[in-house]
């Protein structure tokens, strides 16, 4: 065997290829996939929401809730609102949730329904209401969203992603925690139909609780026109047609023969105390 020194003419170990071309093909493909998945997630909401069990929702709700900044304030009024909510739930709106009220300091005249039964009530709303019935209507309205599970649909892609993550990696996995912190659940928006259904639910509930519907429309009536809806303004921002909601409620009140009677005042001792 003789050794002949020679250099190989070509290199079999390195593929002659354009890296730039490969880069654009791969990056383009990835981008396309992301766009498709994003669009599909938007469509998947309505398919998935009915299948999310209350138990899973409660577990996921913790992560969503933690992504909200701020601390609970005004424990006195929080306690009162909580007991009002519990009373409504126990007597008239038997929903499979354990509602937890969080009072947050903000001038926004609003309340929010977050997944897992966390209801955020802003002090701006508490300062505006003048009777227990009025407050009960707002709380019952939020319960209406829970009853129809609108709050999950409104969460949109965030809820879909979170559900997948919870099912694939577990609710307490770091993936789910990171998702909960980064996804913007506060982009809640309800459709007109969802609001109307929640209003009807609220009307039934307070009629059951008080025997009359006094104060049901008070809240809408006194909203100042110039109120800045803020980013959670689902009473007003998504509803420039507040007047039509009031007349819709009044129509129901008339046709069902509900009795608009005297309002029950708020507990003075708590309400005059503003921390």
């Amino acid at each position: 065997m003789k050794y002949t020194p020679r250099q190989p003419k070509s290199n079999v170990n390195v593929t002659p290829t354009s890296h730039i071309r490969e880069f654009f093909v791969l990056a383009g493909g990835l981008l396309g996939l992301i766009v498709v998945i994003y669009l599909m997630l938007g469509l998947a909401v309505d398919l998935i929401v009915p299948h999310i069990s209350i138990d899973l929702e409660n577990k996921m709700g913790v992560h969503f809730f933690q992504s909200m900044d701020g601390k609970d304030a005004d424990s006195q009024r929080e306690y009162y609102v909580q007991s009002l909510m519990d009373d409504l739930q126990e007597r008239c709106a038997k929903l499979p949730y354990r509602f937890k009220i969080h009072v947050r300091k903000a001038s926004t005249v609003n309340a929010m329904a977050l997944p897992g039964g966390h209801v955020i009530v802003f002090t701006g709303l508490l300062d505006k209401v003048s009777s227990e019935n009025e407050l009960a209507f707002v709380l019952a309205h939020e319960m209406g969203h829970y009853a129809h599970r609108d709050h999950l649909r409104a969460g949109g892609r965030a809820v879909v992603l979170m559900t997948f993550s919870a099912l694939l990696f577990g609710v307490d996995s770091s993936v789910s925690k990171v998702l909960g912190h980064t996804l913007n659940i506060t982009e809640l928006s309800f459709s007109r139909k969802q609001e109307t259904q929640a209003d009807e639910f609220a009307l039934e509930t307070i009629n059951c609780a008080y025997g009359h519907v006094g104060g049901a429309t008070d809240f809408f009536e006194k909203i100042p026109k110039e109120q800045d809806p803020g980013k959670f303004g689902h009473y007003f921002a998504s509803h420039p047609e507040t007047r039509s909601r009031i007349s819709h409620l009044n129509n129901i009140i008339r046709s069902r023969g509900f009795n608009p009677a005297k309002r029950k005042p708020l507990p003075k001792a708590i309400w005059t105390f503003i921390p």
């Binding site: 020194p5 250099q7 170990n13 290829t17 890296h19 490969e22 880069f23 791969l26 990835l30």
Partner: protein, 149 residues
């Protein structure tokens, strides 16, 4: 936005500088391989030669560490998603092995033949097994035999 700018700059710098460096390295490899053609490096364990004619036998080795450039790293990352041959790493490994062989030959000096040559590679990652291949080490070693003329 700012992050994206840094990312794109890194890719551009990685591509241009990386391509230049690679071309220069290959030119040097080709030149030195030609110069070392007189010294065979083979994988057989022994040569058929009378023992008393072997003047010396010693261990020779050459090693090199080469890093991937940013562009190719990103390209390989994209490849990781879709699968397939990671072409962007091929030249890195090829260069490292050939450079290691050349350094081994340089260490052998005026030996007649290098037998029992082995080449090994190992990764030197920034965080062990987390960042993937950042740097690659190739080592070539063998036994250099110097024979009586």
């Amino acid at each position: 936005m700012y992050d994206l700018l840094i990312f794109l700059t890194l890719i551009a710098v990685g591509y241009s500088v990386g391509t230049l460096t690679e071309k220069r390295h290959y030119r040097s490899i080709h030149k030195r391989e030609k110069a070392f053609l007189y010294l065979p490096a083979v994988t057989i364990k022994a040569v058929d030669y009378p023992e008393e004619k072997v003047r010396s036998a010693e261990l020779v080795y050459g090693s090199v560490v080469i890093s991937i450039d940013y562009f190719k790293k990103i390209l390989a990352g994209l490849r990781n998603i879709f699968g397939g041959t990671v072409k962007s790493y091929e030249s890195l490994i090829d260069r490292a092995r050939r450079e290691a062989l050349l350094r081994m030959k340089e260490m052998a000096g005026d030996a007649t033949v290098i037998v029992n040559v082995r080449i090994e590679t190992s990764t030197i990652a920034r965080k062990a097994n987390k960042e993937g291949v950042g740097c690659l080490e190739a080592i070539a070693y063998g036994t250099a035999l110097t024979l009586e003329k």
